[in-house]
């Protein structure tokens, strides 16, 4: 009985978000008759796929009470490395695997400084943000990498069962993240560390290894997003992904994951990414100038958190 009650409360917490999304959709479909067309809906999903993939990794990091500011730069680095490998003649599968491995490795690099040297995640990943960007620019001499094999076109523009490939990749990664967080011992350890690191340590949980994992996972997410973006642009830009970390963090917090760790989930992150994506899309349809779009987006993030806060305080 009480089990039902708690689930209900949990759902209520998420429900607010979904309602906000539904309200947005209703308003936009009233304002623009182009909004609720199936092509536009797919368009929105495809537009948010890159952010949602990065934000999935970010969710894992933030639940563990960390933050990863390096994802945008890491996306650029892994994008140009993967593309360069493919252009150099390696089989595309190997090139992509190499890029994903590099992303994971760079996440481990962040994680070592954070978990083992005890430096604050904010600082370490801020350093990562400039280091990875610098590496991406150095490797390419600042020039985009193009002339990619057709596999990248398939990633960016192919479709399967009527849905574009980027959406499938996004859904797959969201599902993977959800399974890790909810159904594995590792996921449990991440929530425990985010909620109370000391208690986790005293319970014999391998705290450092687990924190290391969260950053490695975020690195993997960034490199996966890099593959999607490279496919969309059919080239890899060393200047890609600037400020992507902020969009990802915004999706996570709008999605109800606490920046103080220990609470949240990837379903909320998807809804958060959708809210941001729908707003962007809606404003484009309504021809809102892009300068104003940024102001509105920031305002929506504040409003979402304010509502969340009010709901939370009424609950306790």
């Amino acid at each position: 009985m009480s089990l039902a009650r708690i689930k209900w409360r949990e759902i209520l917490g998420r429900f607010g978000l979904v309602m906000a999304l539904v309200a947005l959709v209703v308003i936009l479909s009233l304002l623009s008759d182009r909004f609720m067309t199936s092509s536009n809906v797919i368009n929105v999903l495809r537009q948010i796929s890159i952010n949602a993939i990065i934000a999935s990794g970010m969710t894992v990091v933030i639940i563990g009470r960390g933050i990863d500011l390096s994802v945008g730069s890491l996306l650029a680095l892994t994008g140009v490395v993967g593309a360069s490998l493919a252009v150099a003649g390696l089989p595309p599968g190997v090139a992509i695997a190499g890029a994903l491995a590099l992303g994971t490795f760079m996440g481990v690099f962040n994680g070592v400084f954070i978990a083992y040297a005890g430096i604050a995640p904010f600082i370490v990943t801020l350093a990562g943000l400039t280091i990875f960007r610098g590496m991406a620019l150095a490797i390419t001499d600042g020039r985009p990498v193009s002339g990619l094999p057709p596999v990248f076109m398939t990633i960016g523009y192919g479709s399967f069962l009527g849905l574009p490939v980027p959406i499938w990749i996004m859904l797959g990664f969201l599902l993977l993240t959800h399974v890790i967080l909810r159904y594995t011992a590792l996921g449990r350890a991440i929530y425990a560390i985010g909620g109370n690191e000391e208690a986790a340590r005293l319970s014999g949980i391998p705290v450092r290894r687990t924190i290391l994992f969260t950053f490695a996972y975020s690195g993997l997410a960034a490199s996966l997003a890099a593959m999607v973006l490279t496919g969309r642009l059919n080239s890899a830009q060393p200047s890609a992904g600037v400020m992507f970390e902020l969009d990802a963090i915004a999706a996570v917090v709008v999605g109800g994951t606490s920046l103080f760790g220990g609470r949240g989930g990837v379903f909320g992150t998807l809804v958060g990414a959708l809210i941001i994506g729908v707003i962007n899309n809606g404003m484009n349809l309504l021809n809102v100038p892009s300068f104003y779009q940024q102001i509105v987006k920031g305002g929506v993030i504040l409003a979402a958190l304010l509502i969340e806060r009010l709901v939370a305080s009424r609950r306790t």
Binding site: S2, L3, I6, K7, Y183, T184, A185, L186, R188, A189, Y191, A192, G195, N196, E198, A199, A200, R201, L202, S203, G204, I205, P206, G262, R263
Partner: protein, 484 residues
């Protein structure tokens, strides 16, 4: 006419009636103890008084004037001050700045301020440097600073909520001296405590609350501890007595040391034995268990080094830490998630949680420790202190340990839940576990231990064997017999 009268106070939180028609009076220059089990309404009553929460109904008169405090600031302006433990001080500022916070002149002349601060510190007999950073001071000193600050603002009513919980015996004595001094100046003190011996030591009257109702107010000269406990509990209390047990095989020996106050010490432990550790804060006693769990210093168990909690758990040693909120629990996780925390490795297959096994384990411990409510999916922050402690113990026991380290297992736990925890501890020893029990509660040590090791100056000063005498233990702990 009393200085303060609260009449017909009502307060309700959702379905819970926290205060039900409570009357309370406070005379000028009186120390009035407020006692009751957890959840009886003590803190709520005082929050209403101090302007933290408005009452739903009821009137308050202070010095023959009807008052209603909408905020803490308003209460303070009327001389009603609640002394929190360390919360109200800014750790990074100096003692002087903290004492005069909010009243600093626009142009700060430090010489004058320091002189003023020194006067205030003298009022509470605190000989510390006014320039010292508050964050570096002990809890006892911080409390006295708060009292000094309250007095400097012409406080007439001081509310102390469990002020001695983290104090050593000496600090407690000092605090009580100051309370006596303050009282002589005509200030009234409301003293919330779980410790009856303290209540008898310093209070003039005591009001007992139970389930949000006032069940009695007594003058301490005309009552007994038995009567007060009866009022608190509402039924007869079971006296705890530990039967003599047989000697059993030795499980192993701990060798702990190398951490701050603690010199290298060896403790042998038998199966089924409960070894009590006594000693004031700073005696080294409070470092023994964290060290034995591999948290700091150096520890060996059966000649094998314990370098981390993981090592210890692997050796069958598990700690129930002294502070369940910061060390024992992940508050926002559920009962089940907390119980599983130390056994994640066993509850998984190929990384995936085995949910059936996990449910089964949780259900077993909920039953065995009679957790209330018996709901595995409730976040632990919603449980009472005693039940939270049961969750910490369940988590520890789920590892199927051979040795259980209990660090202040009943701190902040009410009388009823305490007796239940004692039953659990007793049951564990009869199942052959070896237990080390570190406690600042002498009665608890007396009731549970087969042997008491008294720590003083970083080492075992005395080993006491049954039958124990209360006075004897206290004398050894405080070192009083050495003075004589």
């Amino acid at each position: 006419m009393a200085l303060l009268t609260m009449t017909g106070m009502h307060k309700r939180f959702g379905n819970v009636i926290a205060l039900d028609d409570v009357d309370f009076t406070l005379e000028a220059g009186e120390v009035h103890a407020l006692v009751g089990e957890n959840g009886a309404g003590k803190s709520t009553l005082m929050k209403v008084l101090a302007g933290v929460q408005p009452p739903d109904a009821g009137t308050m008169t202070l010095a023959e004037r009807e008052v209603r405090f909408a905020s803490v600031t308003e209460a303070q302006a009327n001389g009603v001050v609640m002394v929190y433990q360390e919360l109200a001080l800014v750790p990074s500022l100096s003692v002087t700045e903290n004492l005069l916070l909010g009243r600093l002149p626009p142009l700060v002349r430090y010489g004058d301020l320091r002189a003023r601060a020194r006067d205030l510190l003298a009022q509470v007999d605190l000989a510390i440097d006014p320039n010292a950073e508050v964050g570096r001071l002990g809890i006892g000193e911080r409390q006295l600073i708060e009292i000094a600050r309250a007095l400097s603002r012409e406080g007439r009513v001081l509310v102390l909520d469990e002020p001695t919980a983290a104090l050593s015996a000496t600090e407690t004595d000092h605090l009580f001296e100051i309370i006596g001094k303050v009282k002589a100046q005509g200030v009234s003190v409301v003293y919330i405590s779980h410790r009856l011996e303290e209540v008898f030591r310093i209070a003039d009257r005591v009001t007992v609350l139970r389930d949000g109702k006032r069940v009695g107010t007594r003058s301490l000269a005309e009552t007994s501890a038995e009567e007060i406990v009866r009022l608190m509990v509402g039924k007869a209390v079971r006296r705890y007595e530990r039967p003599q047990r047989h000697e059993a095989e030795e499980l192993g020996r701990f060798e702990v040391g190398g951490g701050g106050d603690l010199q290298t010490t060896t403790i042998a432990l038998r199966a089924g034995e409960i070894v009590g550790l006594a000693g004031v804060i700073g005696s080294g006693r409070e470092r023994v268990l964290p060290t034995a769990f591999g948290l700091h210093g150096t520890a060996r168990w059966r000649e094998r080094p314990l370098r981390s909690p993981r090592d210890a758990i692997r050796e069958g040693i598990v700690l129930v830490p002294s502070d369940r909120k910061t060390q024992g629990l992940v508050l926002e996780l559920t009962v089940q998630e907390n119980v599983s925390l130390a056994t994640l490795e066993r509850l998984q297959r190929l990384g995936f949680m085995r949910s059936g096994l996990e449910r089964q384990q949780t259900r077993r411990w909920i039953e065995r420790l009679s957790l209330r409510p018996p709901e595995p999916h409730k976040p632990v922050f919603e449980l009472s202190g005693g039940n939270q402690q049961k969750v910490v113990i369940a988590k520890a026991l789920a590892t199927e340990p051979k040795v259980l380290l209990l660090d202040e297992p009943t701190r902040g736990v009410d009388v009823g839940a305490r007796a239940e925890l004692y039953d659990v501890i007793d049951d564990l020893s009869s199942r052959g576990l070896g237990l080390l029990l570190s406690s600042s509660d002498t009665e608890e040590l007396l009731g549970l231990s087969d042997r008491i090791l008294v720590f003083r100056g970083g080492r075992i000063a005395t080993t006491l064997t049954p039958p124990f005498a209360y006075e004897e233990v206290v004398a050894h702990v405080t070192g009083a017999h050495q003075v004589a």
